[in-house]
Amino acid sequence: MSELTRTPNAGRPLAALGAARHAEAILAAILSETGADGFHVKGARRVEGQVQADSLHSFAAAMKSRVGFEHLSAISCVDWIAQGEFELVYHFWSYRDNCLVSAHVRIDRAIASMDTITDLWMPASFFERDIHEFFGVVFQGNTDLERYILTDWKGPPPMRKDFVSRDFAHEHFHYKDYEPTWDEMIEGGYHGSRGKSGGAE
C-alpha cells in the first residue's frame, strides 16, 4: 500500500476504512440505504440529486451513519424567485471515497422554513445561521440563529433577489456630494466635511 492511496483519515487503519468506492457504487449505496431516488452520477467524484424537504433529516442521518459520508462540507442556498422557492444544497463529503454528494432541497419561499440538522452535525449550526441571516430561512430546532455579520441590520435579508442593494444603500448611508472646491481643499488641507454639506439627514 503506497502513501498515495492513503486517505486523509490517517488515524484509522486502511483495512477498517475500506477501499474507496466509485461514484456508481456510492449511488447504489445511497439508493439502497436511504431509499432516496432522484440521484444521479454527475462526475467521477460527484453525485447529486433531489430530496424532499420533510425527508432531508432522515436522509442526512442515513448518509452519516450508513453510507459513510461523515462530513458536512457546507449548506448553501439559492433564491429561485420566479418559481417562488429557495433551494438548499447540502454537501456531504466522504473521507474514504473522496467523493461529494449534493442533496438539493426545494422549500417554499413564502414560508421559508426548514428542519435543522444540528443534532447530526454541530457545525451545521453556523451554516444555518448564515442562511437565516442572508436569506431569512428559519431552521426549526436551531437555537442559535442570532445575527453574525449584520448585527444592526434593519432591512430585509440582503441576499434575496428582490432586495435592491443600491436603493437600500442610498436610503441608509450618507454619501459625499461632489464638490467643485475639492481641489482647493486638497491644496489647503482637508478638515472634514462637517458644515459643508449639512448635518445628519
Partner: protein, 195 residues
C-alpha cells in the same frame, strides 16, 4: 481658527509639536484589504520607522488610527470604540478610496460611504489602494501638519460630538460606548476651552 491658534502657540507648544511629530505610533488594527500595503511600509524596504512611525497593539498608547479600507457597519462600531479609548492628540487617517466615498463598495448594503461623518478624519490617502510610497508621503504630510500645529481634527470630535453621535445613531441605533465623551473632552481641555 487655525491661524489664530498658530499665532497663539507658545514656545513650549512648538517644542512639544516637534517632539510629538517624531514619535507617532500607529494602532495595528486593519479593517480592509488595504492592510496588505502596510507590511512593506513597516519593513525594511520602505521602513516607516525612520520617520518615528511604528505599529502599536493597544489603542491606549497609539496616536494614529489608520483605517485601511472599507468599513462595514459592524467594523465601524468597533473602530468608534477603539477611537474613544485612544488618548489625545489622536489622528484618524482614512486610507484608500473606500473611506472617502465607498470606493468600489458604492452600492454595498453594509459598508459606510463617508468616514468623516462618524469620526474626525485628519487626512485622507486616496487610491485603491495607496502604494507604500503614497503612505510614506501621506505620513510626512501628517508630520508637517503636526509640526505646524494644524492637526487638530480630533478636537472636533469633542466640540461637535452631537454631529458625530447623530450620524452614528443613524447607522447603529443606540451605540453603547464605555467613554463619556463630554468628560473626555474636559479632560483633554477641549470642551472647556471653547466655553
Amino acid at each position: 481658527m487655525a491661524e489664530k491658534e498658530l499665532t497663539q502657540r507658545s514656545a513650549w507648544d512648538k517644542v512639544l509639536a516637534n517632539l510629538r511629530k517624531r514619535s507617532l505610533w500607529m494602532l495595528h488594527y486593519c479593517t480592509g484589504c488595504g492592510a496588505v500595503e502596510l507590511p512593506p511600509t513597516m519593513t525594511s524596504r520602505f521602513d516607516m520607522e525612520r520617520f518615528g512611525i511604528m505599529p502599536m497593539v493597544t489603542p491606549r498608547q497609539a496616536d494614529i488610527l489608520l483605517i485601511t479600507g472599507y468599513l462595514s457597519v459592524k467594523t465601524l462600531k468597533r473602530v468608534i470604540l477603539i477611537y474613544e479609548q485612544m488618548v489625545a492628540p489622536k489622528y484618524v487617517v482614512g486610507f484608500g478610496s473606500c473611506t472617502i466615498n465607498g470606493g468600489m463598495y458604492w452600492n454595498s448594503y453594509t459598508t459606510i460611504k463617508a468616514l468623516d461623518r462618524y469620526l474626525p478624519v485628519e487626512m485622507y490617502l486616496a487610491g485603491c489602494m495607496p502604494r507604500p510610497e503614497a503612505i510614506i508621503t501621506g505620513f510626512n504630510a501628517l508630520i508637517d501638519k503636526i509640526a505646524k500645529g494644524e492637526a487638530n481634527s480630533w478636537k472636533d470630535y469633542y466640540e461637535n460630538y452631537e454631529f458625530y453621535h447623530k450620524n452614528q445613531q443613524h447607522v447603529f441605533g443606540d451605540i453603547e460606548t464605555h467613554h463619556d465623551v463630554t468628560d473626555d473632552g474636559k479632560y483633554f481641555r477641549v470642551v472647556e476651552a471653547t466655553r
